[in-house]
């Protein structure tokens, strides 16, 4: 596959920056629309990136979101510097959340984050090191998988 056909973008996410939280997901959505990706896929990507972005904003100091788009697939990798996750299996359970009371009152971190990312992705990968940070990677296929 030629490199000409792949678009890369890198976005920085700042931890605790609730004011701008969600802006990366909006930018990615705009790119996908201009490229002509169909709207149900756009929605899945928007939801997954938003949740991934929010995880960085809520728990980490900072993070980087790498986005790549080829005619075959959309790939998103988020790497953060933060507390990491002790028990990934537990964190993947719907409803599990370590969000503080204040965050939950603001409507954040109802514990849907990770499972929701997984639900909207075709491939999902997560790894984490306590005290260092977490890596989440997803792939959404563009070619109809039959």
């Amino acid at each position: 596959m030629s490199v000409e056909n792949i678009l890369w973008e890198k976005f920085n996410i700042t931890g605790r920056d609730f004011k701008n939280a969600g802006s990366v997901s909006i930018k990615i959505k705009e790119i996908l629309k201009q490229v002509g990706i169909n709207s149900s896929i756009v929605r899945r990507v928007a939801i997954a990136t938003y949740e991934a972005e929010m995880n960085v904003v809520m728990y980490a100091n900072k993070g980087i979101l790498n986005f790549s788009l080829s005619p075959e697939k959309i790939e998103i990798n988020v790497e953060d510097e933060g507390p990491g996750i002790e028990d990934i299996e537990l964190a993947m359970q719907e409803g599990y959340s370590t969000a503080t009371e204040e965050m939950r009152e603001m409507g954040f971190g109802a514990g849907m984050g990770l499972p929701n990312i997984k639900k909207n992705a075709d491939e999902f990968e997560i790894s984490s090191e306590v005290g260092k940070g977490t890596k989440v990677g997803i792939i959404i296929n563009l070619k109809k998988e039959t």
Binding site: G36, R43, A46
Partner: protein
Amino acid sequence: MEQYYHSIYFDEEKCNGRMRCMRVCPTQAIRIRNGKAKMIEERCIDCGECTTTCPQNAILPLTDSFSELSKFKYNIAIPSPALYAQFGREILPDKVLEGVRKIGFDEAYDVALACGSVSFAIQEYIRDYKGQKPLISNSCPVIVRLIQVKYPELIDLIIPIEPPREIAAREMKKGKSKKLGLKEEEIGAIYLTPCPAKMISIKQPAEGGKSHLDGAISIADVYAPLLSAMEGLNKREYKQSLENICIVGIAWSIAGGICRTLRLKNSLGVSGLSHVIKIFDDVVSGKLKNIDFVEAYACIEGCVGGSLTVENIYISYNKILKLIETLELRKNKACPDIREIRRLYKEDYFFIREKINPRPLKPLAENISDAIKKMKEKDEIYQSLPKIDCGVCGSPTCLAFAEDVVKGEAKISDCILISSEKFLKIKQVSRKGEN
């Protein structure tokens, strides 16, 4: 390309290319070409921001004039409830309707009643609905266009219930044609409108099909004649007049009015396009999972803030609010019978038959692979630009300019800073040559 109807037009003679409109347009639908503002048809959602901002009055609303009435044998005026908010507190809807009759209509219909019925129908719909949330109101045509153009992924969230003005027109025509022995085509249903945007829902309904309304006359245009027509009218008891006002219906003219009078729990009233856009972004990213219903209006504070109204937005907003408060305290309120509404609801009385089609902006290229290449090109061009969004190139931002260049709609040399740099370079080269 499909032809799009728009409710505004640009008067080239008057336009002096000042760029104000280009800067306020929320969908970047305006470019300045050869010193004149030009609209990109597929992008415009008829919000009217440009018309109100133009210092030259060069962008004009396209509403109907009174001569429209001569096309029909019998004319019914259907005023937006925002009309009731245009006059002093003592002037209540019944007097306004009487005034409307005097200025040339055979009849004036109080749409608040239809608004009330539709409110209840919306309540039924929200209650039965099991799909993705939140649902979005469709009474503001600008919001519907915004979703068609910029949020096609939200199209299924639009409530498929006819807006009250359409139901009112449909039912009035049906009833009157029987009663008067006229054909329905011989009866004109004319909306008295707070905004040009209603014209698009009449001339080119979002769901295709045909509107039941035949035209729309601006509230600003009926204001003066109406004021003098009401002067001679007999004063009626304030209290007595209150009896005919449907509290649930009157609320349709202000943002959040439906949510408030229905006492919907998990709902939001949102107004002003920039706020609506923020909310829709949140809906797309799944942030508003716990909200059932969003009542959205393009104009600040709802239709009382429409660009063709006369009274100050806050005064008229307050008048409606006061009216609601007064009515809330009273026991007897004119309201549609909920059992009757439920029956009609089951009989499909309220539903829009056709599906709304999305109208997404054209991507950079037909196939994804080419579009990605163009996207990269756009990015490269953008990186080379000064990124100060000066607008002199005729595009609203440097990013929009980069896109226009990639699409072949502008030349890179249109950027004055790039061309002056080039110019300086050429000069330097030629100086060196001189030495």
